[in-house]
């Protein structure tokens, strides 16, 4: 089994995580070599999907393609989930704010990025 080449899909996932991370740990270690290394609470591989979860309340969006496929399946183009009932996602964000979840995960909802 070839083990050397990284899996492209996973590399893309980690690249997406980097794009939503303000201070990347590898850069921080160069900038602050004496600082004790630490791991962010949100694993890089989970950051993009967690961000979508924070923002829409669900992991996958309903794109135009998805809506078209739903119509072809004789379904409403928009499911009756928090995609449609956005106030429920807003409630989720209020609950997470109350719990300090964003802070625990170093996610800044205003800037829409992870600090680390």
């Amino acid at each position: 089994m070839e083990q050397e080449k990284p899996m492209k899909s996973f590399t893309r996932l980690l690249d997406s995580a980097k794009k939503v991370t303000e201070h990347r740990l590898e850069d921080e270690m160069v900038k602050h070599p004496w600082r004790r290394p630490f791991n962010a609470t949100a694993p890089d591989a989970a950051k993009p999907s967690l961000k979508r979860d924070f923002e829409q309340g669900l992991v996958y969006p309903i794109t135009e393609d998805v809506s078209g496929a739903r119509k072809a399946a004789n379904l409403d183009p928009m499911p009756p989930t928090a995609h449609k009932f956005t106030e429920q996602a807003e409630k989720k964000r209020e609950i997470m704010k109350d719990m300090g979840t964003g802070k625990k995960l170093a996610f800044d909802p205003e800037k829409r990025v992870y600090k680390y």
Partner: protein, 307 residues
């Protein structure tokens, strides 16, 4: 605790179907087929509305158990308010709803913690909601006799099955047996394989993507291809998401392990699609051939041609 253990008469029970994240975005054919099946079986069935991510146990439980309990509590409170039995067909959604409800009913201080946070959104969870897996609704509430009586067209197909790990929570004699018996009632010949109980690798992907895809997914795919089965039968949207990822990786990056030199063309079909076909619905009624990574066209021809 009462979750998932009710023997309530199906005709009296109002079910709220919890879609989760994957079903509405990637499996419209399964969503529609589930509604057709529920209608044919005479269930009082509708969407559970306003739903959020379940929330994913493998991610949130590991990051922060209190957040996992509370955000899952939000969905449970919604079901309670809507007066429905919450029904999941995704094993990941079911396990998170089942285990959260069990934990909150067993530990009042955790229920109080959840309600303290839900109050910020003017919500409250009493713990009276019932949670069921779709397999429990089909087998325990509807019953195999009624399912058999509803079958118009035994399918005469050979399939591998993949029920998924969390469906084994209550033991192999519960949901895995229900799954097999319902498939067999539809006229499906199940091919036993050494990989039937192997995890799809969904959560492993985040930590070890190569093992997750090359071992957990491609090994199953190779076996399905070698056995020449008509389909791999599934019930869980999370497992489908992982298989779908495996197919896209195979198409995009090839297979460095050499297990699938010819690619992969075995369709991955949801139990509801199999039931819908056996109940006599046409594939186009639920968009069976649309928006799929492996086409079920050969299977459809076989069913329609009776070959």
């Amino acid at each position: 605790m009462t979750a998932s253990k009710s023997k309530t008469n199906a005709s009296n029970e109002k079910y709220g179907y919890f879609l989760g994240c994957v079903m509405p975005a990637k499996m419209p054919w399964a969503e529609k087929a589930t509604f057709l099946v529920a209608e044919k079986l005479g269930l009082s069935w509708d969407y559970m509305k306003e739903t959020l991510c379940c929330v994913r146990p493998g991610v949130w439980k590991a990051i922060d158990p209190d957040t996992w309990l509370t955000l899952t509590g939000q969905n449970l409170a919604l079901a309670e308010k809507q007066g429905v039995t919450l029904v999941d067909s995704c094993n990941g959604c079911w396990i998170t709803h089942y285990e959260t409800l069990e934990e909150l009913l067993d530990e009042p201080e955790k229920m109080a913690m959840v309600n303290k946070h839900l109050a910020k959104a003017n919500m409250r969870l009493e713990g009276t909601v019932q949670v069921k897996h779709f397999l429990q609704v089909l087998y325990e509430d509807v019953g195999l006799d009624k399912i058999r009586k509803s079958i118009k067209k035994p399918l005469n197909l050979r399939m591998m099955r993949h029920i998924g790990c969390h469906a084994r929570k209550l033991g192999n004699d519960v949901m895995p047996r229900y799954f097999d018996e319902i498939l067999e009632a539809c006229g499906v010949e199940l091919v036993d394989t050494p990989y039937d109980s192997m995890c799809c690798g969904l959560l492993l992907y985040f930590a070890d993507p190569k093992t997750s895809i090359y071992r957990n997914v491609f090994k199953k795919f190779k076996l399905a291809q070698d056995l020449g089965v008509d389909a791999i039968a599934i019930i869980c949207s999370g497992c489908y998401d992982q298989f779908d990822r495996g197919i896209k990786i195979l198409e995009d990056e090839g297979d460095p392990t050499g297990q699938l030199p010819q690619g992969f063309d075995v369709p991955i079909v949801h139990l509801s699609e199999i039931l819908a076909l056996a109940f006599g619905y046409k594939p186009e009624e639920f968009g069976m051939d649309v928006f799929r990574t492996t086409s079920p066209s050969k299977l459809i021809s076989k069913v329609e041609g009776g070959k």
